[in-house]
Every structure is written in C-alpha cells, then in structure tokens.
C-alpha cells in the first residue's frame, strides 16, 4: 500500500511544455493579463511566472536557474547578465513609474515627497536598494529632493517592490512603490498616491532578456512589445519605453 503511494508521488504531476519567466515584482498586476493574452494567441505554450526583485532574480539566473525569459525593472541587471554571456537578445518593453503612496488615514492626496514629514508617518517602506530597481529609484529620489536626512531613520526595506506595496498597507505608514501597484484595486480603495518626477531617479526601464534559444520564448519576447501588450501595460501604469 505504501509502495503504491510512493510510486504515485514519484511520478508527480504531468509536465506540460512550460515557458519559465522570471519577472520583476512590479509587473505582478499587469503580467498575468499579458500572459493570458499570449496563451490565447499561442495555445500549446504555458507560461509559469516567478516574481522577485530584479537583482535577486538575476542572481538566481547566474546560479543556473532554468528561466527562459528574464524581465527586469532596470537595464542594470540585464547588463550584468550580458557580461556573463547569458543573454541572447534583449529589448525594452515598458517604463515603470515611482509613486509615493499614503494610506487614507494619514490625510489627503500627497502633493510632494514632503508628505513624508506629516505627523503619523513613522515607518516608510521601500524596496531593498541592494537588489531592487525601485529601491534604488526611491533612495535616489529621496536624496535628490533633499529629504533623505530627515527620513533616513524611518526607512524600512522590503524584499522587493511587490512586498513593499503589501507592507505599505499592512505595517508601514507610507511607501515608495510602483505606479502599477498603486493602481491595484486594493491600494486604490485604501489610499492615494503622488507620481514622483522621473528627473529625481534613474529610469525604471523594463527590459526583457532572452536566456534560452527557444521558439516559444522568442514569440513571447516579441509579444511583449506588441500593441495588444502595450494596451495592457498602459492600463496598469507602465508607460511606453
């Protein structure tokens, strides 16, 4: 009896032809829609997505993680992989935007980063600048606006920008997150945001890198820049590159 059970377990789940995509966390509201559209257009290919901070995902790729495509929220990490000879092709497909998000309980719509100095803002969450482009951008914006010294002691770091958005709602008092997350229904209903001018931070250019020479992967890569995809990106706060 136990032997039979073991056999069943070892056989495991049936493996379909899966396209493995490593995607920067800020794409999590938008990417599932794009993938759905892609799968409708090309039945027979299934896409599996793994989200994370761009830097962490790049590290995993470096260690041999079996991804076909890497979607980074910054060109920097793709560059690293290019230097290691892991990238076959790359293209930018969107541009992300950094926003300041404030939950409703802390007052009206913020009109600048000074809102971070409002009373009640004790903890400000951003993605970890060590390996998340949104973290790098947030830190840069704080420094270039001159606010950094006043808020430095109140900063907390999330593993990636997706977690930062979650913590902005649960645990922190304010967050520097992606526009895509701020537009998510859950955050929309619980707070408001202010778009940080792009002059204050390095560009959050979303770059797609092809890691394996696979027909399905190539098709996915071009799909990312198609009109259909572009419409979806825009709806979720990801602008044209």
């Amino acid at each position: 009896m136990t032997r039979l059970l073991v056999l069943i377990l070892l056989l495991g789940l049936a493996h379909a032809e899966t396209l493995r995509v490593a995607a920067a966390a800020n794409l999590s509201p938008a990417l599932p829609e794009v993938v759905a559209a892609f799968e409708r257009a090309y039945p027979g290919v299934q896409v599996g997505i793994t989200y994370g901070a761009s830097g962490q995902l790049a590290e995993q790729v470096r260690l041999g993680a079996p991804f076909h495509i890497f979607l980074s929220a910054s060109p920097v990490y793709v560059e690293h992989l290019v230097q290691e000879g892991k990238v076959l092709e790359q293209r930018s497909f969107a541009r992300g935007r950094l926003v300041l998000f404030l939950p409703r309980r802390l007052g009206p719509v913020p009109e600048g980063l000074e809102a971070l100095t409002r009373p009640g803002v004790r903890r400000i969450v951003l993605a970890n600048p060590e390996h998340a482009p949104y973290g790098v951008a947030a830190l840069a914006a704080l420094k270039r606006s001159g606010l950094y010294p006043r808020v430095a002691s109140r900063l907390i770091f999330a593993a990636n920008v997706g977690q930062a958005a979650q913590m902005a709602l649960q645990g922190a008092d304010a967050g520097l997150i992606s526009l895509a997350a701020a537009l998510h229904p859950t955050l929309r209903s619980r707070g408001s945001y202010w778009l940080v001018p792009q002059t204050l931070h390095p560009p959050l250019l979303q770059v797609a890198a092809l890691l394996e020479d696979d027909a399905g992967a190539r098709r996915f890569l071009s799909f990312l820049t198609s009109d259909e995809a572009a419409a979806i990106w825009q709806r979720h706060g990801l602008e044209r590159p």
């Binding site: 793994t50 993680a65 998510h184």
Partner: protein
C-alpha cells in the same frame, strides 16, 4: 492553489519517507552501538536545528549549482525538485532523528539481550520485540518530519527559486499571494494549511498516547 499544495504534499511525503529510511538505522546505531566520536557526529546531525533556514538554503544552493562541489559531480540540483527534497531532508533530519532516538531509548537494552539468550536471531528480535515497541515513536517522528516540511519556506525558496509546478510549494505560494496583494486568496490558502497542520498534530499526539500505553507509564 491545488498545484502548490500537491507539490507541498509530494515534497513532505518524499522527505518523510527518506528520513524514515535513513534516520531509523542512524538512530538505532546512535542508541545501541558504540560509534566513534559520537558526540561530534550528533552535533553535526543536529546542526540544521540552529542554522537559519536561509543560511542552510544558501549554502546548499551554492553546493548544488552547476559549478558547485556537488553540482560538478552530477548533482546539479539547484532550482529543481530534487534540490528542495535534499534541502528538506537535511533541514528536517534533526527533528526526525530526535524522535527516532527517543523511541529507541525507551527500549530496555536488557530485554533485547535476554531475547538473544532465548534464541531469537536478529530478524526475529526486530520483528517480535523491537519494532512493536518503537513503531509509534517512529511513525510519530515521520509525521513530525512531514509536518515540518509542509511548513518549510526559507530553505525551499533559496534552493528552489519559486518555480511554479516545480518548486513553488504552498508556503511560498501564500507568500507570493500576499506580495501580489491577493489577500483573500492568501487567507483561504492559509486556513487550509492550518487545518492540515492541526490534523497532523492530532495524529502525532494520538500516536504518542498509544506508545505510552504500550510501554507502560515508565516512559517519560
């Protein structure tokens, strides 16, 4: 959700089974045989208890990467199910081993010795005297390893890389959901987890009670 839970179940079952096969002889040797440098060996085997899962996961990842020490020998299991299986076995080994050891320690050596004088060979001794004595403890240890693996997060995430269908187990799945702000779905998955763990802990308790009644009240 089903995929993630099935993956968790598969990982936990395989890990528990592996630990049963590896851990029982090991525990037996530690309790009944003279092993050179026993304290040292025991310390090494119990080490994963004190290491943060992420540290353990990281070191295993490096070893299992294609250029790693194990990877080069054909065990390039980074980001694969086999990799997280190995990680889980190492991580849950102290739990299983401790439970197995306790089960064997409750056996009075003298009874086994007298069984020898009564003419019972090794197989008969195991079948008629030893196994009926220890099986609840062994099963309890296996269930513990199962439950422990179900709840694992850090080691699996580090070694497995969160690949859906391959290494995205339920605990990581829930974490993903939270990050994607899907709080309702996350709550649903979490309650399934709690229910499962509750049932498992009940099972372990029942087995412990059964074991105690078999060995009389002298145990513990």
């Amino acid at each position: 959700m089903t995929e993630a839970f099935l993956l968790s179940f598969r990982l936990a079952s395989l890990t528990a089974l592996t630990l049963l096969v590896l851990g029982v002889p090991l525990a037996y040797a530690l309790v009944f045989k003279r092993v050179p440098l026993k304290p040292l060996l025991e310390a090494v085997l119990l080490l994963p208890l004190t290491l943060p899962p992420t540290v353990l996961g990281y070191y295993l990842l490096v070893l299992l990467a294609p250029e790693g020490v194990l990877g080069r020998w054909g065990l390039d299991w980074a980001f694969t199910f086999q990799g997280i299986w190995l990680g889980s076995v190492i991580f849950s080994l102290p739990f299983a081993l401790t439970a197995f050891r306790e089960a064997f320690q409750a056996v009075e050596l003298e009874v086994l010795e007298v069984a020898r004088t009564l003419g019972l060979g090794t197989l008969k001794r195991w079948r008629r005297v030893l196994l009926p004595w220890v099986w609840p403890g062994l099963l309890s240890g296996t269930l513990l390893a199962f439950a422990h693996t179900l709840g694992e997060f850090g080691v699996v995430l580090m070694i497995g890389g969160n690949l859906p269908g391959e290494t995205r187990v339920a605990s990581i799945y829930i974490f993903d959901l939270v990050q994607a702000l899907e709080f309702e779905e996350a709550a649903r998955a979490a309650s399934v987890f709690v229910l499962l763990s509750f049932v498992l802990v009940l099972g372990v308790r029942f087995l412990e009670a059964r074991w105690r009644s078999i060995t009389g009240s002298n145990a513990r």
